[in-house]
């Protein structure tokens, strides 16, 4: 069932066991799992079926620190959430991403990759993915990895009919939970704002916040403030350890033979470090995206190479005469070290139309990440040269330690952390089952529970974690 307002929903007399906030990949997946288990669930979606400026305005906020996207641009507030502008790139976090790293504080998850692997077949169905091929070692340091460009499932569109026809799932559009009310043990209700006005309080036995990697922290921070700590009793880490995937053009490569690596439909191939290389260099994970260059760029690159390595340039020129296309741009995206100082706070000056404080995001890239960028490119370049697969040139701004450019990709629009998973209540917000520490009936879905970010796009892992949480919650509720 899908309702356009909370008023219409109330008239239907639906009695939910669980209330899910948000209809993005996490919220929709958990709702479908509960619905399939015969558990009545209501999904509150703050926006409508379509994009609107009015709805997006609730997402405005401020960033302090490094340059970042406007907060009302980097996410979407309507049915299906940010899957509506997702590019569809898929890969699951690596086994090594879940493990603690001695050289990077506060890394390591309380679960391993094996805990989400049982759900990957389901994830492949949801995201319409073929099977992943295993990583291919290029050297002891570098792996050739696969990142699948999927059809980019828009959860609102794909599952609208199924949700509408479901007797166990009620989706309520244009209905925003401004605040959860809690007594330190349980959430007792959610205060609502629907179609431009206060709409009363909704009760359910269980609540799951799936409002996104920025909004989950905002909702819980505000709710906790209003309930005097009654929603997140252990709130030291709430809003903290927020992470992105910084992304910049890192240089160029000339390859001996571009067909050496099977590229995808966009002529791109992806590379990541081995755990041993990360450990040796004491760096974070990273992904190098190799994109075929336009032909004039190849000539320019070879001219530059001729000043330094004439023999190599001459050989490359002869290859060009054979009409080989063999140069590439290198983009680097990397894992941010989890830092408590990268955090979401509530604005003291600005509120949205419902009176909820807007986000003030404090975000800075660390020296460890700067080293990851430089050493990662050196590692890749060294492998290319040692294996005689090609030669790499690192961009000057990276070699010279200049400031990050502000006219490039900047980051992946991947919002992770803020309600991270863990066992230490001082450094995490939810436990291994995504239940808020100290609360009996409050769970969190989505990338805000990520402890570390790995190097890959988060949606595949978000969906796997949502399948796992949906199954867990189904068992808990059924007892």
């Amino acid at each position: 069932m899908i309702f356009d307002s909370y008023e219409a929903y109330k008239q239907a007399g639906f009695k939910p066991k669980a209330c899910i906030l948000g209809s993005g990949p996490a919220g929709t997946t958990i709702a479908r799992k509960l619905g399939a288990a015969g558990i009545p669930v209501v999904v509150l979606e703050a926006g409508s079926r379509e994009f609107s400026d009015e709805s997006q305005d609730f997402y405005r906020g401020k960033t302090v620190g490094d340059f970042y996207f406007d907060l009302d641009i980097t996410r979407l507030r309507f049915m299906g959430g940010s899957s509506n502008h997702w590019a569809g790139w898929c890969r699951v976090l690596d086994k090594q991403d879940f493990e603690p790293k001695a050289w990077a504080p506060d890394t390591g998850w309380p679960i391993s990759r094996a805990d989400i692997e049982p759900y990957l077949a389901e994830v492949h169905d949801i995201l319409e993915l073929p099977d992943f091929r295993p990583d291919v070692p290029v050297s002891d340091d570098i792996r050739w990895v696969q990142l699948i460009k999927s059809p980019a499932v828009r959860f609102g569109e794909k599952f609208a009919d199924e949700l509408d026809q479901s007797k166990n799932i009620a989706v309520v559009l244009n209905t925003y939970a401004t605040e959860l009310i809690g007594d330190g043990k349980r959430v007792t209700g959610a205060k609502l704002w629907s179609n431009g006005q206060e709409a009363g309080t909704l009760s359910a036995d269980y609540f799951v916040t799936c409002t996104g990697g920025l909004e989950n922290s905002r909702l819980l921070l505000w709710s906790n403030q209003r309930s005097n700590g009654g929603v997140v009793p252990n709130a030291t880490a709430l809003g903290r350890y927020w992470m992105e995937h910084p992304t910049f053009e890192g240089g160029n490569a000339i390859l001996a033979n571009y067909s050496e690596f099977e590229v995808d439909g966009s002529n791109e191939a992806f590379f990541s470090p081995t755990l041993a290389a990360m450990e040796r260099l004491q760096i974070m994970n990273f992904g190098i995206r190799l994109i075929e260059s336009p032909y004039p760029n190849v000539k320019k690159l070879i001219a530059d190479l001729a000043c330094t390595a004439p023999n190599m340039a001459e050989w490359m020129s002869s290859q060009l005469d054979q009409k080989l296309r063999c140069a590439a741009q290198l983009y680097v995206a990397w894992e941010q070290a989890p830092l408590a100082s990268n955090q979401i706070e509530l604005s003291k000056a600005d509120v949205d139309h419902a009176g909820v404080p807007r986000i003030e995001l404090h975000w800075k890239k660390s020296p460890l990440e700067r080293r990851t960028l430089l050493e990662g490119l050196r590692l890749f370049g060294t492998t290319m040269a040692q294996k005689n697969l090609g030669r790499v040139r690192i961009d000057d701004w990276i070699s010279n330690g200049a400031d990050y450019p502000t006219n490039e990709e900047t980051a992946g629009h991947h919002h992770m952390g803020g309600t991270r998973m863990g066992t230490d209540v001082l450094k995490s917000v939810v436990d291994a089952n995504c239940k808020v520490h100290g609360m009996d009936n409050l769970y969190v879905g989505g990338s805000s529970v990520f402890c570390t970010s790995g190097q890959c796009n988060p949606t595949t892992t978000i969906t796997a974690l949502a399948c796992r949480l949906g199954e867990h919650l189904g068992k808990v509720i059924a007892v």
Binding site: G251, D304, C307, T308, T382, M384, Q386, V392, R393, I394
Partner: protein, 48 residues
């Protein structure tokens, strides 16, 4: 601190040229050695 004897100083001075012989021994360049020049990551043999 104990003063060095004149004999020890002379012996040290005599030894110096011999030490410099070792120091100035030309390094044999490995053709597969990886070098970084002007941002390029190359094999030394590329520079020929």
């Amino acid at each position: 601190m104990k003063r060095m004897s004149r004999r020890a100083i002379v012996q040290a001075l005599i030894a110096l040229p011999a030490l410099s012989l070792f120091r100035n021994r030309p390094v044999v360049a490995e053709p597969d050695e990886i070098v970084e020049i002007n941002g390029w990551i190359l094999r030394r043999s590329d520079l020929a």
